[in-house]
Symmetry: C2
Subunit: 339 residues, 2 copies
DNA sequence: CCTAGTATAGAAAACGTTTAAGTAAAAGTC
DNA sequence: GACTTTTACTTAAACGTTTTCTATACTAGG
């Protein structure tokens, strides 16, 4: 690796001058500056980020903590899209992305926070995680710039998908399609679920739709087996629903299978709706009607706000940024108005 | 951040002693060592990775270059699983994962190699990419430890999914199910495609199956629209195939839609097979018969070999590691033997 | 022509580690 | 007891930057 030393020798100046020239300080003459820059380019110079980090305490590196229950979160459709968008925005601003090591074994295991300090991340983004994990709490409570995704925390910037309005939009759409017997298989008890669930009930009430208790059941997110089972239970009811909502698109596939296994057709005999708007849902039949979450915007806003917080800690608003979604109309919800 | 300096003061020893104690050098007394370690722990010490990197030229950080044509590769089902596995293995060995910035704009844009040198990655893994991109070639040709995934390069370690045997297995399975009129919609011209295609023809010949030219068509990977179109063309042939192979599972959804749009049933009227074995293919009906690539093993082997190459450059074999897959039997290929 | 001001560059310290070389005391050898 | 060896620790330099302070030369004002 060619260093500033090499350039300074080549140009017959001191390393300080080289540093200042490359960083465009104004106490270096225009011609020297140009000469140094030219030779730097010719010699293929690039700054050593470790040295820079050591000296300046800035790494231009952002730590990412994306943990799914099962895996690292990378294989999670929704979050991988959010992360992808986050990454693009961060990179455009000159930041790199490093995963916070979440392997729970290995010698010298560090906590998330320790790891973040060790690497000197300028900031951290957290998503898709058990927010009750003490290590996560420690990280969020730390003095590092933090942005959380889809979870609120005291005094931290959060970017959240608007589950309340999302559910309202979806419910209203289904209502407008003429459905009155609407069931909801919701995910396990998390903030996201609670928001959707309360919005589900609220919207139902507003629209004058009655929801029998047996229409509301719990199943894990992204679990087709459970969704299958709960769907069967719903179909077995004396008065089954005309439309079933699922925790997410992926889970809805389980429901669809259950329905088809019963010999029922979608949407002719029963309607279904997902949540998320993952890519594959648009490419299989029946094309799923679902609430598309704006992963692009969520990732972008998270990155933008985190970088802001890093670079302008004083003037950055600590806020909750709510990102709306939209109903993605597919072919899985029957319009009961037209006969 | 508490530094070695702080510990040295607290313990009344020199920083050198602290460093050696923590790194378990044997010229430090047992009791001092223990005392230093104890206070280090109490004070919440963690080494500054930038300083370590600067001094040792080792970052314990691996650069990842995963680029899909459209996005960053994160949203690519197959590669996100590979990456996830890679990450887990790397983390278990104490390495972190950082993306090589692939934003093509932004000021001070560095090439992939420049970026890798700048960050001081100990090694680099490359996948899912246009291997003709000059920047990629530059990176692969560099003196950095490199492992490529699904692409061969002179004198570099490569982990490749065995497309030749994979296609043979899949073809043979379909043959055994009694099919003789087998069509193949293959992906665009890449090494992967070439391997599969030649294996397709070779196996056909071995088994005495004749493949008319019009049974073989090209469509982009992961493109349901194109797959839809090509499938329609195949269905329109005077003598249509009884089974269609697709470039990948995702593309096969397009084919399935086309077939169902024609009012044909899968597998009763026509059979289809995918390639990859992505998760969702197991969760929708018709459950796809496909060749499952062992993403877990691919990622694991890539990480293992890269780390080996980093840590034991002399004794590491430069080799091509071929990972076999397996036919994942679904319900999309009809058994023509039983009537 | 003297002084003050300005423009340009250099010297040196510092960031937090690691490590080669050095030193002093204790222990072993005959 | 004089020697070497071993043990335990320290000194100091180094990694590649950034930055403060200092120095020199030139310009301008009077």
């Amino acid at each position: 690796m060619v260093s500033m030393k090499d350039i300074s020798v080549a140009c017959g100046v001191s390393v300080a001058t080289v540093s200042k020239a490359l960083n465009d300080h104004r106490d270096i003459g225009a011609k020297t500056k140009e000469r140094i820059r030219q030779t730097a380019k010719e010699m293929g110079y690039f700054p050593n980020s470790a040295a820079q980090a050591l000296k300046t305490n800035r790494t231009y590196n952002i730590g990412v903590l994306f943990v799914d229950k099962a895996m690292s979160g990378l294989t999670h459709d929704y979050f991988s899209y959010v992360l992808d968008s986050f990454k693009r925005t961060a990179e455009e601003h000159g930041y790199d992305i490093t995963f916070i090591n979440c392997s729970k074994n290995g010698k010298n295991r560090m906590s998330y926070l320790e790891h973040a300090k060790h690497r000197g991340f300028d900031g951290v983004v957290i998503a898709c995680i058990d927010f009750h994990d003490p290590e996560v709490v420690e990280l969020i409570r730390s003095d590092l710039p933090v942005v959380t995704i889809d979870h609120l925390f005291n005094n931290r910037i959060a970017v959240v998908s608007d589950n309340v309005s999302g559910m309202r939009q979806l419910f209203t759409y289904i209502y407008k399609m003429g459905h009155r017997k609407i069931a909801y298989i919701h995910g396990e008890d998390t903030a996201v679920t609670q928001n959707r669930l309360s919005s589900f009930y609220k919207t139902a009430k507003e629209l004058g739709v009655e929801i029998p208790d047996e229409y509301v059941r719990e199943a894990a997110y992204r679990d087709t087996k459970e969704a299958y089972k709960k769907t069967m239970e719903l179909l077995d009811l004396p008065d089954p629903p005309t439309c079933i909502l699922y925790p997410d698109d992926f889970a809805s596939f389980g429901g669809i299978n259950a329905i088809q296994a019963r010999g029922l057709r979608i949407p002719e005999d029963i309607s279904v709706a997902g949540y998320d708007g993952i890519r594959v849902a648009r490419h299989i039949e029946p094309k799923l009607t679902t609430l598309r979450q704006d992963t692009e915007l969520i990732g972008h806003e998270a990155a933008k706000n985190l970088i802001n917080l890093i670079e302008e800690p004083k003037s950055t608003l600590i806020q909750v940024i709510t990102i709306g979604g939209e109903v993605l109309e597919g072919h899985s919800v029957k319009d009961l108005n037209k006969k």
